[in-house]
């Protein structure tokens, strides 16, 4: 009846029990708060069933932030372990637990923090920036978010029921095959990613269509804000890379569920093929994450330098070049698998070629600042932190792109330092900067500036302390994923410094939560009075803050790049055309239901509860068919209501 599921699946060692209790406690705490404040109805009506991209964006960011906390807790436990597990001391984590923890850490950070922040910010900003009211397919948007949520729920369920994968964030076979990982851990990994991955794929389709079909009249592609270009290129990578992930996860699950021989060690299976397939997705994935961050920095640098972005056309070409090149470098993740010098050298050279358009972008940013008049608000300071850290990471990347050098660095702590360098220094810094930058547009008040400066400080110093020692460790011959090591190696002091660094990063996150709290308390003092707190350049700043649910009362038309800046400069008159009725999609719980069914299918396949899997699948199909037959239609907001609402916003601005 319940497949493989029984009471043995509950955690039995103290740390695992602690993790499960924290998770359950946290969830119950949130539920209790909602019940106490009688907010369930509000939550359901205003947020969970909403098809407003801004609301969906905020939900993504909330989930991503919660997952960031979990991922950082994992990191703290991991680095705490390595700081003390020298020689005789075996630390407080068993090897198996340690391995599950870093697998969860990597999986959560990439799929649920980075992707979540990215999709969140895009949802918040893209329609506003393009002069549109929503994305191309609002219902699909909701489905994407809820699939993301379902994947996240599945990963976290493994903390309470069962175990997680101990095979790393990419689960190479044969280790991840049935023979060496007979438990449910790898299955949790497979199905949470499979479900979340479909959500990502649908978002890719959604955002490309939005950019190509819903720009304001007059906004040609070359007049579009550069952030939109970065989203377009990133989403092109999403739609072409995620199908490969779907197949690869699918094949691994077939090996584990139905006894196929794709990646087995006998009967003709080929584990090396998995490595190729997973990285054929995996490399584009990291570019999917970084390109929007580049776009964010382009917007920030231009805005705060009060100057046009230098070399817009070059920047577009660089984005496209990076996107295209990201398809032909994947083998650099396994130079050491023995491919032969011609193949290795080809992929090495292709990899270092990517450094060229990336470097070009850095110079364009610096030359945007040159002859500018720079206001060093928080987002600009994040940019400075990014330049410092990302260039170091880029340098170490160029080093490792030389196969012969990589032979000495692959899978060592040097590699771990490099990719965290890129992801934290590039992706995380970029998305945090973007969040601070666009926060007033969404919530109507700025974040506390001074506290924000301390936040950057903590993140930057924390990052340097946590990861620069890892470069040294790698060159000392320390391989990655070790849960203990010999005391004679002289590694411990470096692991201790790294643990301190994680602590400083946690301090930074604590300061961020404090900043949020203080900013909410001081929101009247920090209010964004006219919708343009930073003297911005692009269309999103032309709406009041917080942006109304319909984004624009009258859809703008565009004649320039940096349209809003040009309008301010030429003191153009406001649009005097009459208000019109606005059609908006109706709220629906269908996204939640579909994702819930998908999650049930995932859980069922993990535990071999076949009837539940079949039921869930049928349920998804039924909901989709029902939705196509019974169209919920739109809400129409009459012009008079829009006019009244706008007048109200105007009054509030003037007061």
């Amino acid at each position: 009846m319940l497949g493989k599921l029984n009471l043995d699946a509950l955690p039995y060692d103290p740390i695992a029990i602690g993790g499960a209790i924290s998770l359950i406690g946290g969830t119950i705490g949130i539920a209790a708060l909602l019940t106490y404040k009688k907010r369930w109805g509000w939550l359901y009506k205003e947020w969970l069933t909403s098809l407003d991209a801004k609301k969906i964006g905020i939900m993504y960011i909330v989930v991503a932030t919660l997952m960031l906390l979990r991922g950082l807790m994992d990191a703290a436990m991991l680095r705490g372990q390595t700081a003390i597990a020298s020689g005789e001391n075996s630390g407080y984590l068993t090897s198996d637990h340690f391995q599950q923890m870093f697998s969860a850490h990597g999986t959560i950070m990439i799929f649920f923090v980075a992707m979540g922040l990215m999709f969140g910010l895009i949802n918040l900003v893209l329609p506003l920036m393009l002069g549109a009211r929503d994305v191309a397919f609002p219902f699909l948007n909701s489905v994407s978010f809820w699939l993301f949520f379902a994947g996240m729920a599945l990963v976290n369920t493994s903390l309470i029921i069962g175990e997680f994968s101990a095979a790393g964030w990419l689960a190479y076979p044969p280790l991840s095959g049935l023979e060496y990982s007979p438990g449910v851990g790898v299955d949790y990994w497979i199905w949470s990613l499979q479900i979340a991955g479909i959500g990502s794929l649908l978002s890719g389709i959604n955002f490309i269509t939005t950019i190509l079909k819903m720009r304001a009249p007059g906004m040609t592609l070359m007049k579009m804000p550069i952030f939109a270009w970065s989203v377009l290129t990133s989403m092109m990578l999403v739609v072409t890379a995620f199908p490969v992930l779907t197949v690869t996860l699918g094949l691994l699950s077939l090996d584990r569920l139905l006894g196929t021989n794709f990646f087995t060690t006998t009967l003709g299976g080929d584990p090396m093929m998995y490595v190729n397939l997973i990285w054929a997705w995996g490399h584009p994935e990291v570019y999917i994450l970084i390109l929007p961050a580049f776009g964010i920095f382009s917007e920030i640098v231009a805005t705060f330098s009060r100057k046009r972005l230098f070399g817009y056309k070059s920047m577009v070409i660089a984005l496209l070049a990076i996107a295209v090149l990201s398809y032909i470098v994947w083998l650099h993740h396994f130079f050491t698998m023995g491919a032969g010098p011609n193949v290795n050298a080809f992929f090495g050279i292709m990899t270092m070629i990517i450094a060229i358009p990336t470097g070009v972008k850095v110079f364009n940013w610096l030359f945007t600042m040159y002859r500018g008049s720079i206001d060093f608000k928080n987002p600009m300071i994040w940019f400075l932190g990014f330049v410092m850290t990302f260039t170091i990471g880029g340098m170490t990347g160029v080093m490792m792109s030389v196969p012969a050098i990589d032979f000495q660095m692959h899978n060592s702590m040097f590699l771990v330092a490099h990719f965290h360098n890129m992801i934290i220094g590039g992706v995380v810094f970029g998305y945090i900067a973007g969040f601070i930058y666009w926060f007033p547009k969404i919530f109507g008040f700025r974040l506390h500036e001074k506290l924000g400066t301390y936040v950057v400080g903590a993140w930057l110093i924390g990052f340097l302390l946590a990861f620069l020692p890892l470069y040294i460790l790698g060159l000392k011959g320390a391989t990655r994923r070790l849960d203990h090591y010999d005391s004679s190696l002289g590694w411990q002091w470096l692991f201790i410094i790294s643990a301190i660094g994680v602590g400083v990063i946690l301090l930074g996150v604590g300061l961020q939560l404090l900043q949020l709290y203080v900013s909410i308390k001081q929101r009247h003092k920090l209010r964004d009075t006219n919708g343009d707190p930073w003297n911005g350049r692009t269309l999103e700043w032309s709406t009041p803050s917080p942006a109304p649910f319909y984004n624009f009362a009258k859809l703008p038309s565009v004649t320039h790049r940096d349209e809003f800046w040009e309008r301010k400069r030429s003191k153009s008159k406001p649009d005097a055309s009459p208000y019109e009725d606005i059609e908006l999609p109706r709220n629906t719980p269908d996204g939640i239901i579909i994702a819930g069914m998908a999650g049930a299918v995932g859980f069922a396949l993990i535990w071999h509860i076949w009837w539940l899997a079949a039921l869930g699948l049928i349920g998804c199909i039924v909901i989709l068919i029902r939705r196509s037959i019974i169209n919920p239609g739109e809400i129409i907001i009459p012009a008079a209501a829009i006019k009244a609402y706008e007048n109200q916003l105007l009054k509030r601005t003037r007061s």
Binding site: L140, I205, V244, L251, T260, N261, G268
Partner: protein, 195 residues
């Protein structure tokens, strides 16, 4: 529901979105083809392609699917010209041909399984079953889609939304036909011959 400028704009958005989806499906199949190409000779002492494929059978299957693509194409033209009765008949023909294709494929699978040649036997068979079954699952989805669309064609008039949806369906159906051509060529025709 009003059929304003919004609806036509809607249609072009939906068409683009669907094209992009088809491209992702294309990459999905391309990946499965790549996997098949790598594993096609890993027969682990078991049967290889030439041992188990019944070419005349496959040829009939293929012709059925090609025919269904033809009937679907003409059905769309008929629907656009408001020739609803003709469209209905052609769609039913598409359905019948599609179901027959699927039935033949299932028969082939069951026969192989009963002879002891399942996906568990070797990497080659794993790749074969997965590639062909994935196509079969897509055909199944198409058949379900067609069943949902068909009732609209039992009325006296059809609206632009239905035409739009029929267009998407025929794009999907033709795409699956093209994928089948590749399967027919790579898996069945080329089989285990060295190129």
């Amino acid at each position: 529901m009003s059929h304003t400028l919004a609806s036509t704009q809607n249609s072009s958005k939906v068409q683009l979105g669907f094209w992009i989806y088809l491209m992702t499906d294309c990459i999905l199949f391309a990946t499965l083809f790549a996997v098949y190409a790598v594993l096609r000779n890993n027969t682990a002492g078991g049967p290889s392609a030439s041992d188990i494929f019944d070419m005349p059978f496959i040829l009939v299957e293929t012709l059925l699917l090609l025919a269904s693509s033809f009937t679907a194409g003409i059905a769309l033209l008929a629907a656009k010209k408001s020739m609803i009765s003709l469209a209905r008949k052609l769609l039913i023909a598409t359905l019948v041909l599609g179901v027959s294709f699927l039935a033949m494929e299932l028969y082939e699978f069951i026969k192989m399984y009963n002879e002891g040649h399942s996906w568990r036997e070797s990497a080659f068979l794993s790749a074969y079953f997965t590639l062909v079954a994935t196509h079969g699952l897509h055909i199944t989805a198409g058949i379900i889609w067609l069943l949902v669309l068909l009732p609209k064609f039992f009325r006296s008039k059809i609206d632009s939304l239905t035409i739009s949806r029929l267009t998407l369906f025929s794009m999907f159906w033709h795409f699956l036909d093209v994928v089948w051509i590749f399967i027919f060529t790579v898996v069945y025709l080329i089989g285990d011959k060295t190129l």
